[in-house]
Point group: C2
Chain length 339, copies 2
DNA sequence: TGGATTAGGTTTAGCGCTATACCTCGATAG
DNA sequence: CTATCGAGGTATAGCGCTAAACCTAATCCA
């Protein structure tokens, strides 16, 4: 069936080790003539080394696990933002010659066996909630080298990358304050003392402090979906009559809110300005085009992979997450407050 | 380091084979008492079987490769439609206890070695162009069991799933014809005598035949991107003065065209009706909401996986692609032709 | 009562590769 | 002229698991 090292060795009239050395570029120990001969025979025979055999012998697999939250078994799919990062990570890993094992995680506990069995060289955790990161430690995954993207741990010692959520939200709020808004709402999912949303809330608040303005107590708790955003938008005016602007912690949520507002007869940005977070392609496709905080996801992904590679190949790793800069992209959903 | 079968066997005072049998649920050959004891010791020791060793011994890896086109090395990411399917496939494979090796393919040739080496149990080709499917055959991938999603081969003998592109386009055109439109444009990428776009064009034409109407020769060749769509939309009125409706082969393209038209002062749907294809979430987020042909991607993915599983585990496989039904979703971008 | 079966194991022989130690021979140095 | 060394290999011994053949005592049926 499969062409093995042994066959190549026999055909070439050398030992298996010599073929192995040639295949692995361990050329110091083989004469040029032999290299050429072995190479030729291997090509003729269509020899391809067996990854299982190799990783059994070397204990290295050149395989990296990418874990993404899979919510429920019924959750149809993963968010566009997450998926985009998956694609970027695959591309980066490929450059380094590693392969990607993609795994959705519904329940952190069930992952252990599956992943340990593959003796992964490393793993990337993508977008897990704070409490889940702990469960998915080296112990569970079996890989020593783990980086987390978009995850926070209570002590902030998780290695990985994340966007500068604090700065982003601060930028968003500053933008709205600069436009003269004061009654600015914060809309996002429930949060505790640590995590992405908490950071964004802190950044949001900081902008008020920076401007020497007292932050009004306008907060709405809402899940990060279009549907819930729209629901909220529909009733928002009634609940916060004085509000003239809002910051939503995700674009998809912001778009939902904008649509809800519009349906309720409230114009964006004339009556209410809206800023989102993420800078999905979507922002350019909706009306009005969404002003948002742009995350450099390509950099987030490539930095995470390069940290992982340094960790695997050189044993070097930063002790804290690397923060990726964000920027504000002004589009059409924000305008100066009405006089 | 790693706990091995041998250690479990020694601790339990049985042979390795007995432990192996217990671990693999091969319980017929082991007494209940022994099963219990081995199980307990294995748990205590935290034993996890090595996938490499197992696949080396059995020649089965419980690993399925998922190949997606990676365009250029610079292409930032994969289309949302493709990515959504990736997520769905992962979920399906997980149900069957298989793992997913995700691999972007920039150049079909370079894939061979990487994939053969993993001795994949099967492979799924996602959204490749017709000519690429041939290059990525069993020979290249090394897996006997291959299914293709959204791919056409010249002879239509590729196993896999695809949406009913012909019927979808026919539905779209019929919808426009029913609304009284006659000057209907077909906008899509260049196509040859076989492939998704060709099917859609044929379905589009069929609707005219069904209605006994001669199809006007209105065709625009344009790549499937928002930007190119917008460009086209900007100049469309000048180029086809009589046109009152158009069918675009992808939502993202349709949205671009709508925006171009709008910018050029042409109203959708009052002046021009637009129908897309795919039914991305996006359709609900744009203004006007896009009427489109809905593909059941969840079914497309799950059917593909179940075909693959039947092929791997039972050796049964359909000889032709399975066609997934589509439906028309009427939203706001289509209206009766103006009197 | 004895040959055949069966339950419940064990032993053996690899799967395909690589790390490590070892060998051999010609060149080199003292 | 021998001791040493490096170039260019080879031989051995696993990595952790499983398929297949084999073993043994108890059971079974005619």
């Amino acid at each position: 069936m499969r062409v093995t090292l042994r066959e190549v060795a026999e055909q070439a009239g050398v030992s298996m080790m010599t073929v192995s050395n040639v295949m692995n570029g361990n050329r110091a120990r083989v004469s040029p003539g032999t290299i050429e001969k072995v190479q030729r025979i291997a090509d003729e025979l269509g020899y391809v080394p067996s990854a299982s055999a190799r990783s059994l012998a070397t204990k290295a697999s050149r395989l990296v696990g990418l874990l993404v939250p899979a919510a429920d078994e019924d959750s149809l799919m993963i968010s566009p933002h997450t998926m985009a990062i998956v694609g970027l990570i695959e591309r980066e890993l490929r450059k380094y010659g590693y392969h990607l094992l993609l795994r959705g995680v519904a329940h952190p506990d069930e992952v252990a066996e599956a992943l340990r069995s593959w003796s992964l060289d490393g793993a990337i955790l993508l977008g897990f909630l704070d409490e889940e990161v702990g469960k998915l430690t080296k112990k569970t995954i079996g890989a020593v080298h783990v980086v987390a993207i978009d995850s926070y741990s209570a002590n902030r010692l998780t290695t990985g990358t994340r966007s500068d959520d604090f700065a982003g939200a601060r930028l968003a709020a500053k933008h709205l304050l600069d436009l003269g808004h004061r009654q600015i709402l914060f809309a996002g999912p429930a949060f505790s003392g640590v995590g992405v949303v908490h950071e964004r809330f802190e950044g949001f608040s900081q902008a008020f402090a920076d401007a020497g303005v007292e932050r009004p107590d306008l907060v709405e708790t809402v899940n990060t979906t279009y549907a819930e955003g729209r629901e909220l938008g529909l009733t928002l005016a009634g609940r916060h009559p004085g509000m003239t602007a809002l910051f939503a912690t995700a674009d998809i949520l912001a778009v939902g809110i904008v649509h809800g507002l519009t349906e309720a007869g409230i114009r964006v940005p004339e009556d209410v300005s809206v800023v989102g977070f993420d800078d999905l392609d979507l922002c350019n496709y909706v009306t009005p085009k969404l002003t948002t905080v742009s995350q450099d996801i390509a950099r987030k992904a490539s930095t995470a992979v390069s940290i992982l590679m340094d960790s695997i190949e050189k044993g070097e790793r930063p002790k804290r997450p690397v923060t990726i800069d964000v920027s504000l992209v002004e589009r059409e959903s924000t305008a100066p407050v009405r006089a």
